[in-house]
Symmetry: C2
DNA sequence: GTTGAAATTAGTACGAA
DNA sequence: TTCGTACTAATTTCAAC
């Protein structure tokens, strides 16, 4: 239902400030940190937790919304309680130059919670939530297979969701860096004794060639 | 940071009510629907949008929270603005009976936004957000590879996030069913003319055997 | 960027339908 | 259960510092 911002792999670096928009300082990040944990906190309480005045908190709060740094506030629902106990990932190979059609069809499938375009063997990954396993089957064979843009799919089930953080922020990363610095050997040394063979990075070209049977 | 509820593939069916807890009626679902779009709406405004009294809305709101149907409220942050423009998926093969260790290590990696245990070729999928591509590399080769529980990884980059719905609810599914009923031929007939060969379901056993080189 | 006081709104309690 | 109202507490706005 909502298009979300592009994550170009091309534009690496420059943390803290990308494109036009608000310059985010430490207090902004602190506000985001509180808000992602408790989206319903009052601005007054937020001001206190962050250590600034209420008026300041209101100004910054509004600025973050207007700037788009905060995209929206949402309630996290327990899917099991809501009757959608089955979660699956469907990896989709899309016929090139039919992306537009694929996207349009996705928008018409409400059981799709998330869709990302990826490098690697497949072109897209979609996550669906349904009430039973049969619904996954019918989703894939009935709905997805009938989209001409879809060349092939591969489905796996999610057995358990171990972790879901509301949204990751740079401050977390910094905190982790500080934490690990005290008990970790230097990066170069550490990288040296890693069995590199077991780690594999899959670029778009490499993986796709392997799967290209038809077309 | 937060363990979330299990999605047993075993328990199919019985939509709307699973396990002990609140019986969710249409008004409950309507409340959830409003709240997932606007997590900061006042209960008064919520009552009006759902068409119930303020007092009733407070009661139901509290019941939903107490029951756990609403897990939490959160702000969705624009990662690009927050300086985390790179997103990657890392598929991890975990040494059996080392899950506990794997989970513990995950909790210490703040760049991990999501982790799910899956069927198929790999055992888990983790989604990470970092500031640049180099950070993905160091994350995989430096941090993940040093966890004994990790047998192998496969990394793909997310080029674009097409869709993110706050959380899918059964009401969406019903709406879609009603929509498609009017312009779709019966399911049996539709399934008959699908080229089934291009669709693949990957169970845990099948896929895992293919990747088991060492161990 | 801060504080404090007015206006508004949110949350609670309780009796009636 | 749900609704309506009255009451209390809190939040937001706005002004002066």
């Amino acid at each position: 239902m909502s298009e979300i911002s592009r994550n170009g792999v091309s534009g690496g670096g420059q943390p803290g400030r990308i494109g036009i928009g608000l310059e985010l300082d430490d207090i902004h990040l602190k506000i985001l940190e509180v808000l992602r944990e408790n989206g319903r906190i009052s601005v007054a309480a937020l001001a206190e937790r962050v250590g600034i005045s209420r008026a300041n908190a209101y100004t910054r709060f509004e600025a973050l919304r207007a700037d788009g740094a905060i995209k929206r506030f949402t309630a996290e629902i327990d899917h099991l309680r809501a009757g959608l106990g089955i979660t699956a990932l469907i990896f989709v190979t899309v016929r090139q130059q039919m992306w537009k059609q694929f996207r349009a069809e996705l928008a018409r499938m409400p059981e799709v919670e998330y869709c990302a375009i990826t490098t690697g063997q497949h072109d897209a990954m979609i996550q669906v939530r349904v009430s039973d396993v049969a619904a996954v089957h019918s989703m894939v064979t009935d709905r997805l297979a009938n989209i001409p843009a879809v060349k092939a799919t591969e489905t796996v089930f999610i057995l358990d969701e171990v972790l879901r953080r509301p949204y990751v922020l740079p401050s977390d990363r910094d905190a982790a860096r500080d934490r690990s610095r005290q008990q970790r050997r230097p990066a170069q040394e550490a990288q040296g004794d890693v069995p590199l063979g077991k780690m594999r990075f899959v670029g778009a070209a490499e993986g796709r060639a392997a799967l290209r049977k038809d077309d």
